[in-house]
C-alpha cells in the first residue's frame, strides 16, 4: 500500500515564488494521476486556493484545530498526497510544530513520506535558513529550489560558501525552476487558473477561453522544463513509496549539487 505523503512548500522570505512552485506541483501531480489535496496557509484568502479552488482549503497553521484538520487526516483521506503551501515566515514555526506533534518522528519511522520544497531567496540569509530548516528534517526528502520565475538572480551566492552549506545537509537535492516570460506569468495570474488549464485554453470550470497562443506556448514550454526537473529528482517514485519498501533510517544518501542556472 502507498504511504501517505506530505509535501511542504515553504521559505522564510516572501516573494520567492512558493505558491508558484506549489501550483506547478499540483499540475504535475494531476498529470501523474496522483490523488492530492492542498492546504493554503495564507489566511484568510489564500493565493493557491484562487488557482486550485477544488483541491485547496485555506487553513491557519498556527491554530491547533487546523493542524488537526491537516495531520490527523493524513491517513484517512482519499488523497495519497497532502500538499501544504506555507506562507512566508512560517516555515520554521511549522517545522517546529510538526516536530512537537510527532509528525517528524512518524516520517522517520517510515509511516509517512515527508517531502520539503524549500524555496530559496537570492541572499546569503537563505543559506542560513537552510541550516535552520535542516535541523528539523529527520528523514525527509529535502529539495532546495532556486526559483528563477520572478527574475531572481542568485548573485550573492558564492560557490564555495554555497557548497559548504550544502555539505552540511547530506541528501539535499537542488531543483531549478526556469524563468517564465513575464507577460505569460501575468496572464496566467489574471486568468486565475492552473498552468495546465491555461495551456489547454480553458477557464476555471472548463469553459473555452481565448488566451494568446504565444503565451500558452511559453507556459507549456516552461512547465515542461519544470516538470522535467521533478522527473529528474524522481518525485513520483518518492511519493508512491510503499510501506514495505521504506529504506532503513540513517542510510547514507548521495549529495547532489544544486543545478546551476
Amino acid at each position: 500500500m502507498t504511504k501517505p505523503a506530505v509535501v511542504l512548500i515553504g521559505g522564510d522570505k516572501g516573494g520567492v515564488g512558493k505558491t508558484t512552485v506549489a501550483r506547478t506541483l499540483l499540475d504535475y501531480f494531476a498529470h501523474q494521476q496522483l490523488r492530492v489535496r492542498a492546504f493554503d496557509t495564507e489566511v484568510p484568502r489564500g493565493t493557491l486556493k484562487r488557482f486550485h479552488p477544488d483541491l485547496t482549503d485555506v487553513v491557519d497553521i498556527n491554530h491547533v484545530p487546523d493542524q488537526m484538520r491537516i495531520f490527523d487526516t493524513v491517513n484517512s483521506t482519499d488523497a495519497t498526497v497532502t500538499l501544504i503551501d506555507v506562507r512566508a515566515g512560517l516555515l520554521s514555526p511549522t517545522l517546529h510544530a510538526l516536530r512537537n506533534i510527532g509528525f517528524i518522528e512518524a516520517a522517520k519511522k517510515g509511516d509517512i513520506t515527508f517531502v520539503l520544497f524549500h524555496i530559496l531567496g537570492p541572499s546569503i540569509a537563505s543559506l542560513d535558513e537552510i541550516v535552520d530548516t535542516a535541523a528539523y528534517l529527520g528523514d525527509a526528502k529535502y529539495f532546495m529550489v532556486k526559483n528563477f520565475i520572478n527574475n531572481t538572480y542568485f548573485f550573492e551566492w558564492d560557490e564555495a560558501t554555497t557548497e559548504a552549506y550544502f555539505k552540511r545537509i547530506p541528501g539535499a537535492v537542488g531543483i531549478t525552476i526556469p524563468k517564465l516570460v513575464e507577460m505569460a506569468a501575468e496572464q496566467v495570474d489574471l486568468a486565475s487558473v492552473p498552468f495546465a488549464t491555461f495551456i489547454g485554453n480553458k477557464k476555471q470550470g472548463g469553459a473555452s477561453a481565448s488566451y494568446s497562443f504565444v503565451l500558452r506556448g511559453y507556459v507549456r514550454h516552461w512547465l515542461e522544463k519544470t516538470w522535467a526537473e521533478y522527473d529528474r529528482v524522481g518525485l513520483t517514485d518518492i511519493l508512491e513509496a510503499r510501506e514495505s519498501s521504506r529504506p532503513p533510517i540513517g542510510r547514507p544518501r548521495p549529495i547532489i549539487k544544486i543545478a546551476e542556472a
Binding site: 516570460v181 513575464e182 507577460m183 505569460a184 494568446s212 497562443f213 504565444v214 503565451l215 500558452r216 506556448g217 511559453y218 507549456r220 514550454h221
Partner: protein
C-alpha cells in the same frame, strides 16, 4: 476555418541581400494573379522591403518582444487568411526560430490545417550552410526546401555549400541585368508585368520576363501540390 489546408511560407536566410524579398514578392503575386487569398508579413528591417512592393497585402511585424510576438503569431494562426508568406530578415532569423520552437508554433499550425514550408535561400556564406544544417536537424514539424536564387547569386555552381545534400530545391532562374533592374522597381508587379514594365522595353525582353515568371510560378504550383494545398 474552411477545413482546407493552406500553406505558410517562411522565406529566410541568415544572410542579407540574398533575395528573400524577391522570393516573397513572387510567392505573394502567384496568389494575387490567381485571385486567391494571401497575406504577407514583413519581418524585414531594411528597405526596400516587402511592404514597399505590396503594401495592400503586407503587414509589417516586429517580434522583438512578447507583445509583438503575440500580435504576430496569434494573428498568423487564428485568422483564416489563405496562404501566408513571411519575409524574414536575417537579423530576426535566430529569434524567429527560437520563438517558433518554444511555443511549438509549427506543430499548432499543422493542427489547424496550416502547412508550413521553410524556403531557405542558400548562399556561399558558411553561416548559411550551418544554419541550414541546424534547421534540418531541429525542425521536424515543417518542410524545409533550399532555394537557389540565381538572380542574386554570385558563386559558381561547385561552390554551393548545400548542392550535394539537397535532393530538391526551388530554383529562381538567372535574369539578365536590364530585366533585373525592371523587377527591382517598387512599382513593378509580377501579376501584371505588361502594365508595369517600361513602355520601351523590347518585346524580346518582355517575353523573356514572362517566361521567367512562368517558370517560377510553375514551381510554386508544384510545391502547393506537394504540400496538399493546391
Amino acid at each position: 476555418m474552411t477545413g482546407k489546408t493552406t500553406p505558410l511560407y517562411v522565406v529566410c536566410s541568415p544572410c542579407r541581400r540574398v533575395g528573400k524579398t524577391l522570393v516573397s514578392r513572387l510567392l505573394a503575386e502567384f496568389y494575387v494573379i490567381n485571385n486567391r487569398p494571401v497575406a504577407a508579413f514583413d519581418l524585414a528591417d531594411e528597405g526596400p522591403q516587402l511592404a514597399d512592393y505590396l503594401p495592400g497585402i503586407t503587414t509589417i511585424a516586429d517580434i522583438a518582444d512578447t507583445r509583438g510576438q503575440m500580435a504576430f503569431f496569434d494573428r498568423l494562426i487564428a485568422a483564416d487568411m489563405g496562404a501566408r508568406i513571411i519575409d524574414l530578415s536575417h537579423r530576426v532569423f535566430k529569434n524567429f526560430f527560437t520563438v517558433v520552437d518554444e511555443i511549438s508554433f509549427f506543430e499548432e499550425a499543422r493542427r489547424r490545417s496550416i502547412e508550413p514550408l521553410i524556403l531557405f535561400i542558400i548562399d556561399p556564406d558558411p553561416k548559411s550552410a550551418k544554419a541550414y544544417g541546424i534547421l534540418r536537424h531541429q525542425i521536424s514539424q515543417a518542410s524545409l526546401l533550399p532555394v537557389r536564387n540565381q538572380v542574386k547569386t554570385t558563386e559558381t555552381p561547385h561552390a554551393r555549400p548545400n548542392a550535394n545534400i539537397t535532393p530538391t530545391s526551388l530554383d529562381i532562374p538567372l535574369l539578365n541585368f536590364p530585366l533585373k533592374a525592371v523587377i527591382d522597381r517598387q512599382s513593378f508587379s509580377f501579376s501584371r508585368p505588361w502594365g508595369t514594365s517600361p513602355a520601351d522595353l523590347p518585346v524580346l525582353l518582355k517575353e523573356e520576363l514572362s517566361r521567367w515568371v512562368e517558370r517560377v510560378f510553375f514551381q510554386f504550383h508544384t510545391l502547393e501540390v506537394l504540400l496538399g494545398c493546391a
